[in-house]
């Protein structure tokens, strides 16, 4: 299934181009207004992680739902329902979303760091956050995309439905990215946290990933078939 | 609300609102019960 997705994708290159263009566009806007000369340096490690994840979120919302909507629109969905088991289909779509998002992050993150002239105190944490956060983004988006593909008003509905689902992921990822840029850990209940706090937050992020993926595996068959 | 013994008024207003809500809910319960009963019987032709 995964191979099939990529074959059709390579033929059109639509999603890749959309995602990349969108992300770079947003990055340009953000950096022009908030880049090294724009924002006060002290604040940058606070605000910039948010922007990074917003860019990723919007790019994902622009590019990922397409894979399902396209099926429904071109009527290939019926053929798929006959040909593949739901689990295989879901895994295929998920793998596709994952690689797409990984490529996106590989493009955006270095550019972001370079353009914003950021130092990364804990690069390992940053990579782990991008990986775990990206995974959750892909998994959540894939399931929601499957749901909205059979409804009307697809674009806005996807945003409406996915936002509350992805919000915990985003908040965790932003906190972790902040820690990765600045060092130390998330504040926690009492105040400034230490390195251990970041570990806890990362585990919660991974827990989220696991939960959403499991939910996707269990719910996708129901969504896909009457 | 600057009325002498102010906080008691809040309590009274609360009680009034709650009682009103409660009576409304009872009325709703009765109406729904009536509708359910009328739907059990083949009384749908009675709809004006």
């Amino acid at each position: 299934m995964f191979a099939k997705e990529w074959r059709s994708e390579i033929r059109t290159r639509y999603a890749l181009n959309t995602l990349a263009l969108f992300a770079v566009n947003t990055l340009v806007v953000v950096s022009a207004s908030l880049g090294p000369l724009g924002a006060a340096p002290g604040r940058s490690s606070e605000t910039l992680p948010v922007l990074l994840w917003l860019i990723l979120l919007f790019a994902a919302a622009a590019g990922l739902p397409r894979s399902f909507v396209h099926e429904e629109e071109t009527q290939t969905a019926t053929a798929l329902r006959l040909a593949a088991t739901p689990s295989a289909l879901f895994c295929g779509k998920l793998a596709y979303a994952l690689t797409l998002l990984a490529a996106l992050e590989a493009l955006v993150a270095p550019l972001f760091l370079a353009v914003m002239n950021l130092d990364v105190a804990r690069p390992g944490l940053l990579i782990a956050t991008l990986a775990a956060g990206g995974f959750g983004l892909a998994a959540g988006s894939t399931l929601v995309a499957a749901i909205i593909a059979q409804a009307r008003g697809k674009g806005t509905l996807f945003a409406v439905l996915s936002f509350p689902v992805l919000l915990p992921l985003l908040l965790l990822a932003v906190e972790l990215t902040r820690s990765a840029f600045a060092g130390g850990g998330p504040p926690g209940q009492g105040g400034q946290g230490g390195q251990g706090e970041a570990g806890v937050a990362l585990m919660q992020l991974l827990l989220y990933d696991g939960a959403v993926t499991t939910a996707g595996l269990m719910l996708f068959p129901v969504v896909w078939n009457p | 609300m600057q009325v002498s013994g102010g906080i008691e008024w809040v309590m009274v207003v609360n009680l009034i609102i709650w009682t009103g809500l409660f009576l409304y809910l009872q009325r709703l319960h009765r109406q729904v019960r009536a509708l359910e009963a009328s739907q059990e019987a083949p009384a749908l032709e009675r709809e004006p």
Binding site: I147, R152, V160, V165, P168 | I7, W18, L35, S38
Partner: protein, 268 residues
């Protein structure tokens, strides 16, 4: 529930919550670090939040039952579960809104600002948006079976994500919220009379939620049957009025006005 028991139970609920209201203002002492009388709002704000949380869980559970509830292959799913889930979501929206408003009012008194993106505030907003999204999804699907199925899947997803809303996110960042009822050391440190009123209020609001849920589910069922009968039976003036626009909103009554107009027709 037999009619007499139901009536008696509801009067008991009235008495219970009336006692809670009086207790909140007369019996319970004021909390130490709160400004003036403002701590009294907690006896309502906290149970409303609990009710909203319960509503969320209820919707998720009914949705799972709807999707996977023991049925043999090929038999249709039980629409009652779908209605119950939808009713719970609507009530979650209601109680969540109430909790948010009471919380904002109290926040204004204590810290001068209605809103400060305190993690608990953020998580209740997340839940509210989720409930709204569920209803938006229902409106976006025309086919009744598909609508129920997709909405249930979304609510089930919400059930999975809920613990992150309510427990994980508020923990990772600094919070203005007072410590939860059971604090970090695992013991309750609230004045006993306050605790009594709070728990009594919690119980009362829970009962209120379940009563409202029962009523709303039954209203949805009645409306569904009216619309089904109208669709199946001979066209008439009243059925045209009842259905209004066709397919998209079949089985999706818009407001509480439906039972009122329907009951006026039957009681004539």
């Amino acid at each position: 529930m037999k009619k007499r028991t139901a009536v008696a139970a509801s009067w008991l609920l009235w008495l219970w919550l009336a006692a809670v209201i009086v207790g909140a203002f007369e019996y319970a002492p004021l909390a130490a670090k709160f400004i003036g009388q403002s701590s009294r709002i907690l006896f309502f704000h906290v149970p409303m939040a609990w009710a909203a949380f319960t509503a969320f869980i209820t919707a998720g559970v009914y949705s799972v039952r709807y999707l996977f509830g023991g049925r043999s292959q090929g038999s249709p799913r039980d629409p009652r579960h779908d209605r119950a889930a939808r009713a719970a979501i609507e009530l979650g929206l209601l109680f969540g809104l109430l909790a948010t408003v009471t919380g904002a009012v109290w926040s204004r008194i204590m810290w001068g600002a209605y809103w400060n993106w305190d993690p608990r505030q953020t998580s209740i907003v997340m839940a509210l948006i989720f409930n709204g999204a569920y209803l938006a999804l229902r409106d976006a699907v025309e086919d009744a079976e598909k609508r129920a199925r997709l909405a249930a899947a979304y609510a089930a997803l919400g059930l999975v994500v809920t613990p992150f809303f309510f427990f994980v996110v508020p923990r990772i960042t600094f919070s203005l919220h007072p410590e939860p009822v059971i604090n970090a050391r695992g013991r309750v440190e609230m004045d006993p009379r306050m605790l009594q009123v709070l728990l009594a209020s919690g119980a009362g609001f829970m009962a209120l939620f379940f009563w409202l849920h029962d009523l709303r589910t039954r209203v949805l069922a009645v409306a569904d049957r009216v619309l089904e009968a109208a669709a199946a039976g001979a066209p008439s003036a009243s059925s045209a009025r009842a259905t209004g626009t066709s397919a998209p909103h079949l089985g999706e009554p818009r407001t509480g006005a439906d039972p009122a107009t329907a009951s006026q027709r039957t009681s004539n």
